[in-house]
């Protein structure tokens, strides 16, 4: 008697993980990472954002581009600033917005990520804005959503936070114009920062003159120089001739896990004080993705000083997110027609 063997089907896995961001006609469908966008798409997003930033300066701030569309903010990790700006961006595009704080909800009851996703999908959502504490979560979700749904990554683990990097590039461009002669320094906890990783990709894609990272070795990931940065461990050397300084937030857990001895030593060596700011170019701008720890990574007088563009970053964030939302939805809009 022969044993009958039924051949199972083995699902294929996309060899190029970044290709998933585009539909079969090459239009942007998801924004998961800066990688794979290239300078053309980045520039297109920044140019589109210029238009929206002027919308937000108007008396009536709404445009009807996403009327009748539903945007769902899926936040598996707590966030105020990013969620709020995504919400405002969606509302200014006239979309309906649903905020789901899942850090305290279903997934804690043992519901799988995929089940949560399909449930919300069944509510006819058109776009998911996703934040999750695991690297790769946004890719995972994009791989499993229905074909009409767009996924925007609002931060996954230590991996990627593309809209933050785009709004940083937007802010730099507004102040400095051309990227090619610029020196940009990112200072602080690069190892655990999705923002830093996305910034490296965005500035290198835009052909920045020189990109530096300044941090003690415990806050730098292995082989970070392979991402196209020059590594410094000293602020005086690292800030010399720099046009843009990006400070990163330092979390208090870093002291407990043996990465740093104390906030005081960190502030003394790597905190951006007025004195250290003087080592950069006189017209250097100071940026921070927020929320800043005053007296830990940045002095209050610097954060509030004339060279700081921190609040401008926040308002630019709305325009950049409007641009990304409208570009991603235009792919699916023409699909419906």
């Amino acid at each position: 008697m022969a044993v009958k063997f039924v051949r199972p089907k083995i699902p294929k896995f996309a060899p190029d993980p970044w290709a998933i961001q585009f539909d079969d006609q090459g239009r942007l469908r998801h924004l998961l990472t800066i990688e794979g966008l290239g300078p053309e798409w980045i520039t297109r997003i920044l140019d589109t954002a210029e238009g929206f930033v002027s919308v937000t300066d108007r008396e009536i701030k709404k445009v009807p581009l996403l009327r009748g569309r539903t945007v769902v903010n899926l936040f598996f990790e707590a966030s105020t600033r990013t969620r709020t700006t995504f919400e405002l961006a969606a509302k200014r595009l006239s979309a309906d917005v649903l905020n789901l704080n899942l850090a305290t909800s279903a997934t804690k009851k043992g519901e799988s990520l995929l089940d949560t996703l399909h449930n919300i999908e069944a509510m006819q959502a058109d776009m998911f804005v996703v934040r999750h504490e695991q690297s790769g979560a946004a890719h995972f979700i994009a791989r499993h959503v229905a074909p009409h749904v767009s996924v925007l990554n609002a931060g996954d683990g230590w991996h990627s936070h593309p809209t933050q990097a785009l709004l940083d590039a937007f802010t730099v461009r507004r102040h400095k114009g051309d990227f090619t002669p610029l020196r940009i320094a990112i200072v602080g906890d690069i190892r655990h920062s999705r923002v830093a990783r996305s910034q490296m990709h965005v500035f290198n894609s835009l052909n920045v003159g020189e990109l530096r990272v300044i941090a003690p070795r415990t806050l730098l990931p292995t082989d970070v120089e392979k991402l196209g940065v020059r590594v410094f461990h000293d602020m005086r050397e690292g800030l010399k001739d720099v046009d843009v300084i990006i400070m990163l937030r330092l979390q208090r857990e870093r002291m407990e896990s043996g990465l740093l001895p104390s906030e005081e030593e960190y502030y003394r060596l790597f905190g951006l004080t007025e004195e250290k700011l003087g080592w950069a170019k006189p017209d250097a701008i100071v940026m921070h993705p927020g929320p800043a720890n005053r007296g830990v990574e940045i002095e209050s007088s610097v954060a509030d000083g004339p060279q700081s563009v921190i609040l401008e970053q926040v308002s630019n964030g709305i325009g950049v997110r409007m641009a990304v939302m409208s570009l991603c939805m235009s792919a699916s809009a023409t699909g419906d027609a």
Binding site: M1, A2, V3, F5, V6, R7, P8, K9, I10, K12, F13, A14, P15, D16, P17, S112, L113, L114, H132, Q134, S135, G136, A137, H139, F140, D156, G157, W158, H159, S160, R194, R197, P221, T222, D223, V224, K226, L227
Partner: protein, 456 residues
């Protein structure tokens, strides 16, 4: 889950040729004609006939004097190889305890389709393989399934807890081929040293996979450029080499015979080589996927390439290949860990590590020989004679008269991929789908029975 294949029964029925004998299934006498016999242990490499009876190889070349006329015959197409059945030295079958992932029946059937005739199971079952009762249960389940032979490695500590010694001598007498604490750590170095001393008292083969839990932490990918770019928590090489160096210090003090199931880094290969040159009783193996994949394969965030120890750099992969070619590494294992689909349906760091590797072990090893990375002799030895010697399986791993009739027939000119033939394992978490393989198993005999025949 896939249905288990029909039970064939592995225990040989001593009644010769009863009425209605089903050749190939019931028949006790086999002659396999016209295959190229390839066996590194005996040095045989020639085209000849081989005669099987009562579960043993009874003759090569000429039929024995009392050979019955009504035997079963397998005539091989010209050029096909007959090799000793493959011994996979480190394979999880998920039974008992995790039957929702796989079972002995499904996995031993997948094994024979890949030319594997003996599966060596680590003790991390549920309940833990720390009593003879569990070892007997596994043996009985394997006999009922009637495909590959399954042998067990006993636990070194009770419940693999790392604190109280398991009854290693009793497990040895009960048929366990070695002892190990699988991937579970010892409570401290003192306890580990005592476990090694106790094992050495009875000259037991010990298997220890060095991985420091504090250095490994949440690491899910090699701590290098790819993990840095993807923001994945890194698992550094020192998580392997630091405990390996401690282990080597304790081998030199206790004289325990220790085998490392899977090395993953160039530095670990160097440490083992040096310890062997110093005359220490240490041997090492490698998984088939570490010989072929690197950190670049985690680049697409494919959860099927999430393995522990992680896939490392090209330099590490090449050092592992060189270690195998030069004899520092003596065995290649599948590190088979079948999973249900849900285990891999999550963001990369949250997926369960492990690949389903039974069906690709032999094809990947032979592909290495094809590409000239190792000699065919070394490649075959690593899955036949060397694991047989390691686990004290004296009657397996070679084609010689009197040995167990465990054989695999291979078409060396096939072109196939897993996409075409599908996977038989209950776990389809395999990173090699889509790969082209040049060697395909056509038929497998275990204990003198043809338990697998590929139907075209």
């Amino acid at each position: 889950m896939k249905d288990a294949p029909t039970n064939l029964g592995i225990d040989y029925d001593p009644v010769r040729h009863p009425e209605g004998c089903r050749p190939g299934i019931d028949c006790a006498h086999w002659v396999i004609r016209g295959a190229r016999l390839l066996d590194p242990a005996s040095g045989v490499d020639r085209v000849d006939d081989i005669y099987l009876a009562d579960g043993r190889i009874v003759a090569i070349g000429e039929a024995p004097g009392d050979w019955p006329g009504d035997h079963a015959e397998h005539v091989c197409p010209s050029g096909h190889w007959l090799i000793p059945g493959v011994i996979d030295g480190w394979a999880r079958l998920r039974e008992p305890g995790l039957e929702h992932k796989a079972g002995i029946a499904t996995e031993s059937a997948a094994a024979v389709a890949g030319g594997i005739t003996t599966l060596v199971m680590p003790p991390d079952t549920m309940p833990v393989l720390d009593t003879v009762a569990v070892a007997r249960y596994i043996k009985r389940r394997a006999q009922l399934a009637g495909r590959a032979r399954v042998v067990a490695i006993g636990a070194m500590t009770q419940q693999l807890g790392g604190e109280l010694l398991a009854e290693m001598a009793t497990l040895d007498e009960g048929g366990c081929v070695a002892v190990s604490n699988a991937h579970y750590p010892f409570a401290d170095l003192r306890l580990m040293r005592r476990a090694l001393e106790y094992a050495a008292t009875f000259d037991l083969q010990v298997l220890i996979q060095p991985l420091d839990p504090s250095l490994a932490a949440r690491g899910c990918a090699h701590d290098g450029a790819v993990a840095t770019r993807l923001g994945l928590p890194g698992l550094p090489v020192s998580a392997e080499t630091a405990p390996l160096a401690q282990l080597i210090a304790m081998i030199s003090e206790t004289g325990a015979k220790v085998h490392i199931p899977m090395l993953s880094s160039a530095e670990a290969v160097r440490l083992v080589e040096r310890a062997r040159n110093d005359g220490l009783p240490i041997t090492a193996g490698v998984s088939a996927h570490h010989l072929w994949l690197t950190e670049m394969d985690t680049d697409a965030l494919d959860p099927n390439s999430h393995v522990i120890p992680p896939l490392r750099t090209i330099r590490d992969r090449d050092a592992l290949r060189r270690g195998l070619a030069e004899g520092v590494i003596t065995t290649v294992v599948s590190d088979h860990q079948p999973h249900e689909p849900d285990a891999k349906l999550a963001p990369f760091p949250e997926t369960e590590p492990g690949v389903s590797g039974l069906e690709t072990l032999l094809p990947l090893v032979l592909k290495l020989a094809d590409e000239g990375a190792v000699s065919l002799e070394r490649a075959l030895s690593a899955v036949t004679r060397n694991p047989a010697a390691l686990f004290g399986l004296a009657d397996a791993g070679t084609l010689a008269v009197g040995q167990r009739a465990d054989l695999a027939l291979i078409d060396p000119d096939a072109m196939w991929s897993l996409d075409d033939v599908g996977m038989r394992s209950a776990g389809e978490n395999c990173p090699f789908t889509g790969w082209d393989f040049g060697h395909q198993v056509g038929a497998t005999w275990v204990n003198g029975r043809r338990v697998f025949l590929r139907e075209e």
